[in-house]
């Protein structure tokens, strides 16, 4: 009971810190997220950060025409090596990313392995809802229906995140996102190293700077609650430093209504160019970080 109350108080403090701290200056398109004034009222705000799910990024990676490479993924039986809560949380994100990749390429056997490994870590973390028997039945029943599987795997990720936040475990949720992001960037970088003429994939890798920026900000907040997560801040900061050397050109966004169906187009070019030496620096760093978290 005391622990639960303590968690609630810590969470309250976490929310207050989110509300009070303005974000520091960074390059690319984001320079300041200080509060915006509405009329005479300076609104009290809570700040959150959203990054694309591993499924969303994996879909973009697949669209670039890459093939399936099982050897780039984390071995399903590695789950046995993860002892601490933070290791389990990060590698739950890693397995979720591998699960998304296997699902997109209709690798049913691998998909089963990754569901099983992710389920074991989720159980240890108390996120049983995401992998309950009903969900596993749905996986088995829809294994050959890729569209249904995309929905189910996305739902697993959503339920895990919602359950963690509901149980006041935002730290584990942040670490899961970190693991998912690192694994997806690792995967994309390895695939690009096989075919450096794939410009679409180079663009997907370069565009990860936006998700990385949000992830770094999220992890900074998390590390204030749990100092043991400081290494994740350092890792994402090191990656951001590499991205800062990329050549960028940006225009302010402009909203254009496309038609009467309430669809909007956000115009404005944001160019990020990744040279081969940029990529090699990024590749070296992401391999080192990823090896560190899955070993």
């Amino acid at each position: 009971m005391y622990s639960k109350l303590k968690n609630k108080v810590l969470y309250c403090v976490f929310l207050c810190m989110c509300a009070c701290e303005s974000t520091e200056t960074q390059p690319v398109t984001i320079h300041d997220t200080s509060l915006r004034t509405d009329g005479d009222v300076q609104a009290l705000k809570n700040f959150f950060y959203m990054i694309p799910s591993p499924m969303e990024t994996s879909i973009l990676i697949k669209k670039t025409g890459v093939d399936y490479h099982y050897d780039f993924l984390n071995a399903p039986d590695n789950y046995k090596h993860y002892q601490t809560t933070n290791q389990k949380a990060i590698n739950l994100g890693v397995y979720c990313a591998d699960l998304c990749y296997a699902t997109l390429f209709d690798q049913q056997q691998d998909l089963r392995f990754y569901i099983s490994s992710a389920k074991k870590l989720a159980e240890d973390l108390g996120v049983m809802d995401a992998f309950d028997s009903q969900m596993i039945d749905r996986v088995e029943y829809n294994l050959e229906e890729r569209d249904s599987m995309l929905k189910i795997v996305s739902e697993i990720y959503w339920i895990a995140d919602a359950h963690l936040k509901e149980s006041e475990n935002a730290t584990v949720s942040s670490l899961m996102m970190y693991g998912g992001f690192i694994e997806t960037l690792y995967l994309a970088s390895n695939l690009y190293s096989l075919d450096k003429s794939n410009q679409a994939l180079a663009q997907v890798i370069a565009d990860q700077v936006y998700a990385l920026y949000n992830l770094n900000a999220l992890l900074k907040k998390t590390s204030e609650i749990d100092p043991k997560t400081q290494q994740t801040v350092e890792h994402t900061h090191e990656l951001l430093e590499i991205y800062r050397s990329f050549k960028t050109q940006s225009e302010n966004p402009e909203a254009v209504v496309l038609d009467s169906s309430n669809q909007l187009l956000i115009k404005g070019e944001n160019q990020i160019q990744m040279t081969q030496s940029d990529f090699m620096a990024l590749f070296e760093k992401i391999v080192a970080i990823r090896d560190n978290i899955v070993s």
């Binding site: 609630k8 309250c12 300041d32 009290l44 700040f47 996305s154 509901e166 997907v204 909203a255 944001n270």
Partner: protein, 142 residues
């Protein structure tokens, strides 16, 4: 001296109780995840941050979007008409879109380039606090 100690203890108890109650009040919103039906046929991006809103309290979420991808941004609350959202360029603070008084509560949006935008979730209700959640989905098959 006794009076001071009693005053201090009373203040301490009150402060602690207030903090704990604040925690419970905020966390109540986590029990109200609300439905994601407005997201369909888009796939949910997997992250929610249920929050308590009132006329003075806005939630800002920094969301990263990919070039060429279609997204649906949808707020949800116990009473849908209680909440709306605004799309803001975080760099210039330019308001790009507001769902206030729009026909649809959600917005379908595409991006010419990958970028981060700020999505502010706001309440229409001046009289009471409402629990609200921002949902972002993407189209898997384009």
């Amino acid at each position: 001296m006794n009076f001071s100690l009693r005053t201090f203890l009373a203040f301490f108890c009150f402060s602690s109780l207030f903090t704990i109650l604040c925690g419970f009040t905020s966390l109540d919103c986590f029990d109200k995840r609300h439905n994601q039906t407005n997201i369909h046929p888009y796939l949910h991006n997997g992250q929610i941050n249920p929050t308590e809103l009132n006329a003075q309290n806005t939630t800002s979420t920094m969301v990263s979007f990919y070039k060429g991808q279609s997204y649906r941004i949808s707020p949800s609350s116990e009473v849908q008409s209680n909440v709306y959202f605004e799309l803001v360029d975080p760099e210039t603070k330019t308001l790009l879109y507001t769902s206030k008084d729009q026909k649809h509560p959600h917005l379908d949006v595409r991006f010419e380039s990958s970028r981060i935008l700020q999505v502010d979730l706001k309440s229409n209700d001046n009289n009471k606090d409402v629990c609200a959640t921002l949902h972002v989905g993407f189209l898997p098959n384009e």
